[in-house]
């Protein structure tokens, strides 16, 4: 499997993702945002961080960079794209995913371990997990409060396009287990064809037992399936 990780000025989770991918024998390339061509990849990762210092809106400037037009056309052709945290914000700003990520309802930057419940494993990204499985992952963001209109929300809910929702350790999904005010406790969404995933939690930070845990590893294993 070949993967490409896009790197912007201010990306800071790019190497963590690369380490996780290489651990699983992905042949990974790091792609600088000024590049105009993307090598042939089975998976494109838009990593977390603070691209362009979050100027204007998180992800807004990165969404207009050279390489993004390549990412957009690859995504439209069906390539697998994973956007994590700031990467999720970028995928939204460039229009590959619908909706918006607003400032956290509590107005604070949140960096902590949280629990998410897998809502559906019938896709390329979560097929190694069980539906209903509870994962401990890490979040670190200021704008993770997902918002979309009623019609799109219904479309997401009715077509298994929400793979992850914030929960507690027992799997309860409610206001108390919602860290950032995200509508319906959404932690990640797919596009219609389920080849593009955006998620706020960081699976790459939970890809090694020695460091912090392995709950995120299944996502990368699923992609190899």
């Amino acid at each position: 499997m070949k993967s490409s990780v896009i790197v912007f000025p201010g990306s800071n989770c790019d190497r963590d993702v690369a380490v996780a991918l290489e651990k699983l024998q992905f042949k990974n390339s790091m792609i600088w945002h000024k590049e105009t061509e993307l090598p042939k990849s089975d998976l494109i990762v838009v990593p977390g961080g603070f691209s362009y210092g979050d100027y204007l809106r998180s992800g807004a400037i990165a969404a207009k960079s050279n390489i993004l037009s390549e990412v957009i056309s690859a995504g439209k052709k069906g390539s697998l794209i994973l956007g994590i945290c700031n990467g999720f914000q970028i995928l939204i700003e460039c229009g590959l995913l619908q909706g918006a990520l607003l400032r956290n309802s509590g107005l604070k930057f949140i960096s902590k371990d949280i629990f998410v419940k897998v809502q559906s494993n019938k896709n390329k990204f979560f097929n190694k997990y069980k539906t209903g499985e509870i994962l401990k992952l890490n979040i670190a963001h200021n704008e993770g409060n997902y918002f979309t209109d009623k019609k799109h929300l219904e479309e997401l809910e009715n077509n298994e396009l929400i793979p992850l929702k914030y929960s507690d350790q027992k799997g309860n999904i409610n206001l108390k287990t919602n860290p950032n005010g995200s509508i319906n406790n959404i932690a990640g969404i797919f596009n219609k064809n389920k080849n593009i995933l955006g998620m706020m939690p960081h699976p790459e930070r939970m890809a090694d037992k020695v460091l912090s845990g392995e709950d995120g590893l299944g996502l990368f294993l699923s992609l190899m399936n």
Binding site: L56, A60, G99, L102, R103, S105, L107, T148
Partner: protein, 80 residues
């Protein structure tokens, strides 16, 4: 030719920063305050004589980059 652009969150989108600023102003004793909405301000200087053309370009800038129209509204004003 200068333009003043303001970008604010749409009415039905929660503006937590504006809310906190409004609450603080109320706490400071301003009792007749209804609400505060916080936004962004851009001063755009265009090297263009044709004001209609320049304004159309600024509008395009707003639509393509300055505002996220899913959650934000923008207003353009020609500055003297």
């Amino acid at each position: 030719m200068k333009f003043a652009v303001t970008v604010t969150l749409k009415k039905d989108v929660l503006d937590p920063q504006g809310k906190v600023v409004g609450q603080t102003l109320k706490n400071m004793g301003i009792k007749n305050l209804n609400q505060v909405r916080q936004g962004k301000f851009f001063e755009i200087d265009m090297n263009e004589e044709d004001s209609a053309k320049a304004e159309a370009q600024v509008k395009e800038m707003c639509e393509k980059l300055l505002a996220n129209q899913i959650i934000e509204d923008f207003k353009i004003k020609k500055a003297e």
